[in-house]
C-alpha cells in the first residue's frame, strides 16, 4: 500500500481531482487537441499569447490520472512564460516534474499534454516520432 501511495503521489491525485487551468479560452491564439487511442486519453490545450508571452493557458480532457495531472502541471508551469522559453520544455522536464517512475506502457499518458502543446503551439513537425522514445 505504501508503494501505491508513493506512486500516485498526493499532488498527482490532487491535480487529477482538482485540475488547474481547466476549461477553454474564448479566443485562443492556438488551440489543439489530441487523443491517445490506445487508452482513450484526451487532452486539448488553448493558448493565449500576448507579446510573445503565454498570457493564458487552459486545458480540457479526460483520461487517466497520469495524463490529466501531467496536463494540469504543465499548464501551471507554462503560464506567464515566454513562448521561446516554453518551447524548450522537453520530455525530461515533464517526467521529472511528475516525479514518479513511469512504466513504458504509461509514458504516452504522461507526455500527451506536451505533445498537444508542441503540436498546437508550433506545428506537429516539432514533435519527434512517438516511436522514437
Amino acid at each position: 500500500m505504501g508503494v501505491d501511495e508513493q506512486f500516485y503521489r498526493e499532488y498527482i491525485l490532487d491535480h487529477y481531482k482538482n485540475p488547474r487551468n481547466f476549461g477553454h479560452i474564448e479566443h485562443p491564439t492556438y488551440t489543439h487537441e489530441e487523443d491517445n487511442p490506445l487508452c482513450g486519453d484526451v487532452v486539448g490545450i488553448d493558448l493565449l499569447v500576448k507579446d510573445g508571452v503565454v498570457d493564458d493557458i487552459k486545458f480540457h480532457g479526460r483520461g487517466c490520472a497520469i495524463s490529466q495531472a501531467s496536463a494540469s502541471l504543465l499548464t501551471e508551469r507554462i503560464k506567464g512564460m515566454s513562448l521561446d522559453e516554453a518551447r524548450t520544455i522537453g520530455k525530461e522536464d515533464v517526467l521529472s516534474e511528475l516525479g514518479i517512475d513511469i512504466s513504458p506502457a504509461r509514458i504516452k499518458c504522461a507526455l500527451l499534454s506536451l505533445k498537444v502543446l508542441k503540436a498546437g503551439a508550433w506545428g506537429l513537425g516539432e514533435w519527434p516520432g512517438e516511436e522514437e522514445e
Binding site: 508503494v3 501505491d4 506512486f7 500516485y8 490506445l38 484526451v42 483520461g63 487517466c64 490520472a65 512504466s103
Partner: protein, 411 residues
C-alpha cells in the same frame, strides 16, 4: 512422446492443474488469459523435446530426425482434427494465429468471391482482427459492411441480424465468444440462419476454441479460425479450418517453398491441401506445442473447463459487485465466458491496472482490440479480468483487495 505429466486425470481441481504451470511460481495473480494463456509443462516439454532430439525442418528431408519432426508436426494436425471434429486433416491449415487465418480467408476466398455491391455482415463485438481485413476487402472490391449491434447487456440484437440476412449477404462473420466482454453468442443458431440465407460463414473461434471447444461439423460454418496461444499452446501457432471444397477452390495466400507441387519457368502447380496454404518453413516447435496443448485440454475435458470457468466468473462478478462504484459490462453469467470487463467509478482503467499490478495482479486495461465496441458502450476503455483452467478463487480475492486499495488511494 513427452510423458503426460498432468495430474488432471483425477476429478477437475484447479489447484492441482495450476501445479502443471511453472509460471505460477512467480506468484502473479494472472487474470489476462483472454489475451494469452499460460503454458503447462506438458507443452514446454514437447517443444524442448523437439529442439533437443529431432530439431530439423519438416516435409523436406529423408533422414530420420526430419521424419520424426514431420510425424510430430502432422500429429498436431490430427490432434486438431479430432479436437474440432473436422472431417479430414486436409481441412486443417496451420497459421500463426486467428489473425492470419482470417486474413487468409479475406484474401484467398474474399478477393475471388466478393464483388462490388456485395454485403458482408459482421458484429460490433468483433476483435479488430475480424474487422480490419473485411474493411480492406470492402475497400478493394466495393463491397458493403453491415454491423450487428448489441443490446444494453452486450448481447447481439438478433432481430437486426435476421433483417440483415434478408439482404442476402455473401459473407457473415462473427466471434463465438467476445474477448472484450465475454458474451457467448448463439453461434450454432446464427450459422444455421446465415447458411439458410445463402451466406458463407466464418466463425472467429479465438475465444471459443479454448473456453468452449467446438465441433465444426455440428456448428455448420465454412471457416473457423483460432489461436494456440490462448489455449495453453505457444505463440505463433494457430489454425484455420475450412470446408474442403472451399479451400480447394481458393488460391494460395502466401507463395514459396512447400506450397508447390512443381515449379517450372513456365509456371507452378500448387501442393494439395493442406500444404497449399503453408508456404515457407513453419513454426515447427510451436505447432508441436499446440498438439501437446490440445492433448492436455482433452485430458482436462472441455466440459470441466467450461464449468470451472463459470464458477470462477460467478464468484468474480459477485465479489466485484460488492465493491461500491463498480460497473460490470456484458451479459449475465449464464451467457458469459470467463471474462469480466468492468469499470470503477472515478478510476481510469489504466490507473487501476498500475495499482493492482503493484499487488501482483495482472489485469488488462484498454480497448481489448475492440474499439467499435468501446465506442458503442461509450467508454474509453475497460478493465478486464479473464480466467482459465488454472484460475483459483484466491486470484479473485487478490483482485478485489487490490481494487479496494485503489479505491482508497483515489478516494
Amino acid at each position: 512422446m513427452a510423458t503426460f505429466t498432468s495430474t488432471s486425470r483425477q476429478p477437475f481441481n484447479a489447484e492441482h492443474v495450476r501445479k502443471d504451470f511453472p509460471f505460477f511460481e512467480t506468484g502473479v495473480a494472472y487474470l489476462d488469459s483472454a489475451n494469452t494463456s499460460q503454458r503447462p509443462r506438458h507443452v514446454l516439454y514437447a517443444m524442448d523435446e523437439y529442439f533437443e532430439q529431432f530439431n530439423s525442418n519438416v516435409h523436406r528431408a529423408a533422414y530420420h530426425v526430419s521424419e520424426v519432426a514431420t510425424e510430430r508436426y502432422e500429429g498436431t494436425r490430427e490432434a486438431v482434427r479430432r479436437f474440432i471434429n473436422a472431417h479430414s486433416t486436409k481441412e486443417v491449415i496451420n497459421t500463426r494465429g486467428t489473425t492470419e487465418g482470417i486474413n487468409l480467408v479475406a484474401y484467398s476466398w474474399g478477393q475471388k468471391n466478393i464483388k462490388a455491391g456485395d454485403l458482408i455482415v459482421l458484429t460490433i463485438l468483433e476483435h479488430h482482427s475480424n474487422i480490419v481485413p473485411w474493411q480492406i476487402l470492402a475497400a478493394k472490391t466495393g463491397a458493403r459492411l453491415e454491423w450487428v449491434d448489441v443490446d444494453e447487456k452486450g448481447e447481439l440484437r438478433l432481430e437486426q441480424y435476421h433483417a440483415l440476412l434478408e439482404q442476402k449477404p455473401k459473407l457473415v462473420t462473427f466471434s463465438q465468444i467476445s474477448n472484450a466482454i465475454g458474451t457467448i453468442n448463439p453461434a450454432k443458431q446464427m450459422v444455421h440462419d446465415a447458411k439458410r440465407a445463402g451466406a458463407t460463414v466464418l466463425v472467429d473461434g479465438a475465444q471459443g476454441a479454448p473456453h468452449q471447444g467446438v465441433d465444426v461439423r455440428d456448428l455448420g460454418c465454412d471457416f473457423y479460425a483460432f489461436s494456440g496461444h490462448k489455449m495453453l499452446g505457444p505463440t505463433g501457432a494457430g489454425i484455420l479450418w475450412g470446408k474442403r471444397e472451399l479451400l480447394e477452390a481458393m488460391d494460395p495466400f502466401m507463395a514459396g517453398g512447400d506450397m508447390i507441387k512443381a515449379v517450372r519457368q513456365e509456371g507452378t502447380t500448387y501442393a494439395d491441401l493442406p500444404l497449399k496454404f503453408e508456404a515457407g518453413t513453419q513454426a515447427v516447435a510451436e505447432v508441436i506445442g499446440l498438439g501437446a496443448a490440445i492433448e492436455y485440454l482433452e485430458g482436462l475435458g472441455m466440459e470441466n473447463i467450461t464449468r470451472h470457468e463459470r464458477e470462477i466468473t460467478e464468484y468474480a462478478m459477485e465479489a466485484l459487485s460488492e465493491l461500491p462504484g463498480v460497473r460490470i459490462f456484458g451479459p449475465p453469467v449464464e451467457r458469459r465466458a470467463g471474462v469480466v470487463s468492468f469499470e470503477v467509478e472515478g478510476i481510469h482503467p489504466h490507473d487501476l491496472s498500475t495499482i493492482v499490478d503493484r499487488h501482483g495482479v495482472a489485469l488488462r486495461a484498454g480497448h481489448h482490440c475492440a474499439m467499435p465496441l468501446m465506442i458503442r458502450l461509450d467508454v474509453p476503455a475497460t478493465s478486464r479480468a479473464s480466467f482459465y483452467v488454472y484460475t483459483i478463487k484466491d486470484d479473485i480475492d487478490r483482485l478485489v483487495e487490490a481494487v479496494a486499495d485503489a479505491q482508497r488511494i483515489f478516494a
